[in-house]
Amino acid sequence: MICVKDLVKTYKGGAVKVLKGISLDICDGEFVVITGASGSGKSTLMNVLSGLEKPDSGSIVYDGDNISEMNEQQLTVFRRKKVGFIFQHYYLLSNLNVIQNVKMGADLTGNKDYNEIIEKVGLTAKCKNRISELSGGEQQRVSIARALAKKPNYLFLDEPTGALDESTGRNVLDYIVRLQRENGFTMILVTHNLNIAEMADTVIKMNSGEICVRYKNTTKKSAYEIGW
């Protein structure tokens, strides 16, 4: 369970207020989509929630641990143990091959069964290929495998389909949602694509650093049913 209270984040010495007192609760195993226009603060919210950045004030409590009070070392340990990331630009280690990239996540938690995850994302045939030899969709699948290989409790996704074409994007989203259901981790996805919100349990819409709308989907659509 993640409990966020009165979260404030500013830049440029307080001149730019990006998050203006955000409060929200996220249940274990929930799929949350945070959406909003560019500059609404959704990516900053994700960075702060995942422990990549520290908030100016407010609290973020993960199962009793307030990460807003942690120092850099404690945050590193927190991310190591609990968090996985999938980014729009993949951020794979280009000088390594698929297995080596997946091992980056797996080694953190001593997971030796990373080959299973590579198989799950359909990259067994290309596991020895270098990153530059893969298509965008395949690279994103490596990024998914890397994130899942560390068996995270919380998976953060920043525009995971932003750099993909429609067909690949749908396939990738389908993979992620299926894997989330199988593994039961909490998933927080940031996107400007409102259609993706139809797949989530909970949707949070942000505007100018504040949550303007928050609702739960009664019926959820699959990646192949949503508009693009």
């Binding site: 991310r79 190591r80 297995i99 080596q100 980056m104 270098r130």
Partner: protein, 379 residues
């Protein structure tokens, strides 16, 4: 337009190495020219032997130190240009896509010759400034030698290197820019490796893999790390020996040059290593790897080359001094015995370990400051 005058000052490494080379060469070659005529007036056999030994030392040091250091400067220049082209590939690709030819763009790289000019001019000036002291010590026992200004030395050590390095920068850039515009814009496709993974490779942990890959993708940096440690070992130990064998001034000069070259090379190598891997480090940190783990993954592979450089430097200084004492100065009386100084070796090794670890610690702080946000903003 790309490559401006401000880029000249980024080649600090080249400026310092060229400075050291020209500084040493200037006073040795000037001494050689000024003292050469003494041979005709010296009647005493012992003085003649001392004079010949000093002439040989001047010629030998000028050729070896100057030659080697200029070669290192050339390698550094190539390294800088390659780094510049890699980090500005997109801008260069746009210029090529717009219709600028390789020749037009490459010509702009001649600006890097100005760095060499700065190093040469400063080295020449300082070499001249220290000449009275060097002359008085080197002519010890010989008739007084007057310092003369030789325009040919100025041309050889300031004008010529500037022109050669400028031309070399253009030629190298011309060939380096021959990739198609599209390749510069999108990045060069990596060579396919068809070699199957070995069993041991499968079992290696991620950090070890990362360490090996970083080393294999930045091989040239291993040379600079080894060179830095070579300079440290050779020049510091040699400086202590020169303090006893020759003069305090020579000892201090060699010590200073050794320290400057070692610090410059190692900082340059590790800076480019950390900068070149900042994206990987940021991702690793985001995933929960500690600063120490990131530093080890990126820097650990170079430790062997550091030790290798130190070992080669130690052997080099011993052989060089043995040759100088036993061959060049063999006919000169009152030259002290030279043998390998074990205590100096261990002290230098201890200082080297402290120095090397301090550099690693410094870069750990730098790695600690790399954030994923910064990398994301660059995209």
């Amino acid at each position: 337009m790309i490559v401006g005058i401000k880029d000249v000052f980024k080649l600090v490494g080249v400026i310092i190495v060229v400075f050291c080379a020209i500084f040493v060469c200037t006073f040795f070659l000037n001494f050689y020219i000024d003292a050469k005529s003494l041979e005709l007036v010296l009647n005493d056999e012992e003085l003649l032997a001392l004079h010949r030994a000093q002439m040989a030392t001047a010629k030998f040091t000028c050729a070896i130190s100057g030659g080697v250091l200029m070669l290192i400067a050339l390698v550094m220049l190539v390294f800088y240009i390659k780094l510049y082209i890699d980090s500005h590939a997109k801008q260069l690709g746009i210029l090529k896509a717009m219709g600028y030819t390789e020749r037009e763009i490459a010509l702009r790289f001649s600006v890097f010759g100005i760095s060499v000019f700065f190093g040469c001019a400063a080295g020449f000036g300082c070499g001249f400034a220290i000449m009275p002291l060097i002359y008085s010590q080197m002519s010890n026992g010989l008739p007084e030698i007057t310092i003369g200004f030789h325009p040919s030395v100025l041309v050889l050590f300031v004008i010529l290197p500037t022109l050669i390095f400028s031309a070399f920068a253009c030629v190298y850039a011309f060939f380096a820019l021959r990739s198609p515009a599209n390749e510069l814009l999108r990045g060069k496709p990596e060579k396919l490796s068809k070699k199957p993974l070995k069993v041991s490779e499968k079992e290696r942990g991620f950090l070890k893999e990362m360490c090996i890959k970083t080393l294999s993708s930045k091989k040239s940096l291993a040379f600079f790390v080894a060179f830095a440690c070579f300079c440290f070992a050779a020049m510091i130990q040699m400086a202590v020996s020169m303090y006893k064998l020759s003069t305090k001034t020579m000892g201090i000069i060699i010590f200073a040059i050794g320290a400057v070259l070692a610090v410059t090379s190692i900082l340059m190598a590790i800076t480019s290593l950390v900068n070149g891997n900042s994206k990987n480090i940021a991702i690793m940190k985001a995933y929960g790897y500690s600063t120490k783990e990131c530093a080890l993954a990126v820097l650990r592979g170079y430790h062997f080359f550091a030790l290798l450089g130190f070992a080669v430097g130690t052997v080099y200084q011993y052989v060089l001094l043995s040759v100088m004492i036993n061959i060049v100065f063999k006919d000169v009386g009152a030259v002290p015995e030279y043998s390998f100084n074990v205590s100096v070796f261990f002290i230098t090794l201890a200082v080297f370990i402290v120095f090397y670890e301090a550099v690693m610690l410094l870069y750990s702080f730098r790695i600690n400051k790399i954030s994923l946000k910064q990398v994301m903003e660059e995209n």
